[in-house]
């Protein structure tokens, strides 16, 4: 009995020391991580908005559009709403991923940026590059957002080979965002 108690106390002590060490490091790094995250999101929002000003972002949870996490209106210089900025969440090869997108009111994509993700470096991670999103840009209104390799030009299809699951994850959420914006316009 005494032996069990001693063993328990030692294990507890080790855990307690380790936990406090982690807590200390966390208190130093947490604010910085949050600041990095906010800066990255803001930069992504600016990069995709096509010159319009993003308004206040509202967190949403819509049963018909599960990918949409947050919506912000985009205002033109004259104050009219010219489009929407959406934060979309989906899943890729390495788990969940976040795409920041902007659409005109007709549902066509202005720009998109893959932010948080755990895709494989050198393969799915390529989607972080600007050229990756070019295959979706301008589509969504008259031409549907491509969601399969068959919808793409040959050179684009070659660029995503080896990372089809990443492509499926990204394209499906972008299409959902486009559908949502279109539905908003019809209202």
């Amino acid at each position: 009995m005494k032996n069990y108690l001693k063993t328990g106390i030692i294990l507890f002590a080790i855990c307690a020391v380790c936990a406090s060490l982690c807590a200390f490091v966390n208190s130093v790094t947490a604010p910085r991580i949050a600041a990095n995250q906010a800066a990255a999101n803001l930069e992504a929002a600016k990069a995709v908005s096509g010159g319009m000003t993003p308004g206040e972002s509202v967190n949403v949870s819509l049963p018909e559009y599960p990918a949409i996490r947050a919506v912000a209106p985009l205002t033109k210089d004259n104050g009219d709403i010219g489009g929407y900025l959406l934060e979309l969440g989906g899943s890729g090869y390495g788990g969940s991923l976040t795409v920041i997108t902007a659409y005109y009111t007709d549902g066509s994509l202005i720009g998109a940026k893959l932010t948080n993700n755990s895709e494989t470096a050198g393969l799915g991670k390529k989607a972080e590059n600007d050229w990756y999103m070019d295959m979706f840009k301008g589509k969504g209104a008259d031409v549907a957002i491509p969601t399969s390799k068959n919808d793409l030009a040959e050179s684009e299809a070659a660029a995503i080979s080896g990372a089809t699951i990443t492509f499926n994850g990204i394209s499906s959420v972008i299409r959902q965002g486009s559908d949502y914006v279109k539905a908003q316009g019809a209202k």
Partner: protein
Amino acid sequence: MNTKELTKGIFKENPIFIIMLGMCPTLAVSTQVWNAIGMGAGVIFVLLGSNIFISLLKNIIPDSIRIPSYIVIIASFVTILEMVMHAFMVDLYNALGIYLSLIVVNCIILGRAEAFANKNSVLDSALDAIGMGVGFTLGLTLIAAIREIFGAGTITLINLGDINVVFEVPGLSESPIRVLALSAGALLVMGYLKAFFTWYTAKNEKKAKEAK
């Protein structure tokens, strides 16, 4: 100072090619040289910290709970590494993804704790950690270099967002051997390197025997 403990991990007992430990991150993150260097640095940090701690505590930790204790210590170092990297090297953190947290279950670290640090002095354990860590980094970098040069036609030495050092290999960057960048390529490269190392060690042993 026992330099044998330091150098054995680099070639004679190289964790990747000879002991075959830590295969999971080896195969997964060896797509770019920079990832390999980052992963190697992370493993060296965790290995050094855990080896020193475990060696210090080897007389306190009862035998019956040594594995849980080691895992707690290792996991704490990995968590610290993760938080620091997330705060100060976001790009590398993103590139390593889940494999950073998986250092916890990297066999090299638990393996060295169990096979070395709990029997040897603090200094020897620290040297063992550095040697094994450097050996792991070199092995990983070698695989990554082969895969990146032939599979993508580039060499990414530094990729920190603002600071980028990337070389392009002329000819190869237009039409790389793409299979090497894929998962199968990791196994292919690993297999050939393992064969080379086995051949090389066997040759040396034969020589040593003949010399006798």
